[in-house]
């Protein structure tokens, strides 16, 4: 039995692929920005032991980092409606991505903050800078610069991880692939093309983030 390749059967559905790609990128972008925000808040709470937030973030980080993303997603989408809290598939997907990325970036950024030399903070204190000023100008930029490569990796991982959102009928790229494959049965062609799209997206996202890091945080963010 020789297999006749037919990639045109996939390109007939290019609008589905395009919409899926756009949704995956949107999900990643919103998740990355909000997730990084939560991560910075969590990191400073934990590193500087700001009560009671350090405890809250500690529980949050352990809870999220020790459970599968898919279960978190199912819990939000199928579980929360039982408590009268109903989110549609996009709200649930975005919330799950933000919560997940927030936990991981909390730990990554915390490592950066804790690596700040004591002397730097003491120097800032001797200049009569307030705690928020020290954090904004002395601690955060070099901390982010130190861990930027790890943050970039985590964001790419999250982007690839959004593929499981297809399970709750969110029409992102993996949904598009499964949808097309269930219509034309061209498994090899469909998944081959989607693999290429994911690969290109991942490389592009990493490049973009690396460049953004260089611009915003200086040369150490490599």
């Amino acid at each position: 039995m020789s297999y006749q390749f037919d990639f045109v059967a996939v390109f007939d559905y290019s609008s589905v692929l395009l919409a899926g790609t756009a949704h995956t990128l949107l999900l990643t972008t919103v998740g990355a920005v909000a997730g990084l925000g939560i991560g910075i808040l969590g990191a400073v709470s934990r590193a500087w032991q700001i009560k009671p937030f350090d405890r809250i973030f500690a529980v949050y980080v352990e809870l999220i980092r020790n459970t599968p993303f898919l279960i978190q997603l199912f819990f939000i989408y199928f579980g929360l409606p039982s408590l009268g809290f109903r989110l549609d598939e996009w709200q649930a997907a975005i919330l799950a991505v933000i919560i997940n990325l927030g936990a991981y970036t909390t730990e990554i950024v915390r490592a950066g903050i804790e690596a700040t030399p004591r002397g730097q903070i003491e120097a800032a204190e001797s200049l009569a800078m307030t705690r928020p000023q020290i954090f904004r100008h002395v601690v955060l930029p070099p901390a982010l610069a130190k861990v930027w490569p790890a943050i970039c990796s985590q964001m790419v991982i999250v982007m690839l991880g959004t593929s499981v959102c297809s399970q709750i009928a969110a029409e992102e790229l993996t949904f598009a692939a499964n949808f097309i494959q269930s219509r034309n049965f061209r498994a090899f062609e469909t998944y081959f093309i989607v693999t290429v799209i994911y690969f290109v997206l991942a490389v592009a996202v990493r490049q973009l983030l690396t460049q953004a890091g260089l611009r915003l945080l200086g040369r150490r963010a490599r």
């Binding site: 039995m1 390749f5 549609d88 297809s166 009928a169 498994a187 090899f188």
Partner: protein, 261 residues
């Protein structure tokens, strides 16, 4: 240098992947030689296939798989699949047969062959008791859940007006959950499936609105495997005649097999 190495690897992988389909002989003689028939069955789709209280697979399709293996005088290896991946399992040679409440349509007939029907299967739109839905046009502006790639997905996609929002889930479990948790207003399911859901939970009743499709289930056979197809047909005809299919129908569907099947 590294880039070239990578391209070479990619090329090799592609060539390898495209060559895999070539080593393929007659399924029936392969099965008889190895003494094992690999059958793709559902594991999350009562009453066709689900895990029982003893964590063993049970259901109409499981009984059907055992019956066919018995008649072929070989051992059976059950491969749990979802409705999305059951056809790829067959086309890529990971399973010899698919017995997974599989309906027939033109798109599927292009890629696999079908046996004679072995059980009837009506699919309908279901919703709350008080929802006034009697025909496809009433679905305008409604949110309807369905299992992606199923025959009811294709039928519903054709029937529903453009303003209907169709949410496609990975498997029947997710589709049912989406209705039970109120994520969708309506769902499209097999009538038999809806009945067994109603029997299992009181969370939200499923009341039948209108049928979208009435196709029986068939055993899926890889394309061009005429010997296997003929053998399966022979087994189905025999089991219909001696009443074994009707017994299975009584056990799992609570009705005898209709005479016109």
């Amino acid at each position: 240098m590294q880039k070239r190495q990578f391209l070479k690897t990619l090329l090799a992988a592609t060539v390898l992947a495209s060559g895999l389909g070539l080593a393929h002989a007659d399924t029936l003689s392969n099965v008889e030689k190895s003494g094992v028939v690999r059958i793709a069955i559902p594991q999350d789709f009562p009453p066709f296939g689900s895990l029982g209280g003893d964590l063993k697979l049970q259901g109409y399709d499981i009984d059907m798989a055992n019956l066919i293996a018995h008649e072929l005088k070989v051992k059976v290896e059950l491969i749990p699949v979802t409705s999305t991946n059951r056809i790829p399992y067959l086309t890529t040679g990971k399973a010899d047969l698919v017995i997974s409440s599989l309906g027939k349509n033109a798109e599927r007939e292009k890629v696999i062959d079908f046996s004679a029907p072995y059980v009837p299967f009506v699919k309908s739109v279901f919703g709350p008791e008080d929802a006034r839905i009697a025909q496809p046009a009433d679905l305008a502006g409604k949110v309807v859940g369905v299992t992606r790639g199923s025959t009811e997905d294709l039928a519903l996609t054709k029937l529903a007006p453009a303003s209907t929002v169709i949410k496609r889930f990975e498997d029947n479990n997710a589709t049912i959950s989406s209705y039970l948790t109120g994520q969708v207003q309506l769902v499209t399911l097999g009538n038999i499936v809806a009945n067994s859901v109603n029997a299992m939970t009181k969370l939200r009743r499923l009341s039948a609105k209108f049928p979208v499709e009435d196709t029986p289930c068939y055993v899926g056979v890889a394309k061009g495997e005429a010997a296997m197809q003929a053998k399966v047909n022979e087994i189905i005809a025999k089991a219909k005649k001696d009443g074994r299919l009707s017994q299975m129908s009584l056990r799992w569907l609570q009705v005898p097999l209709p005479a016109n099947l």
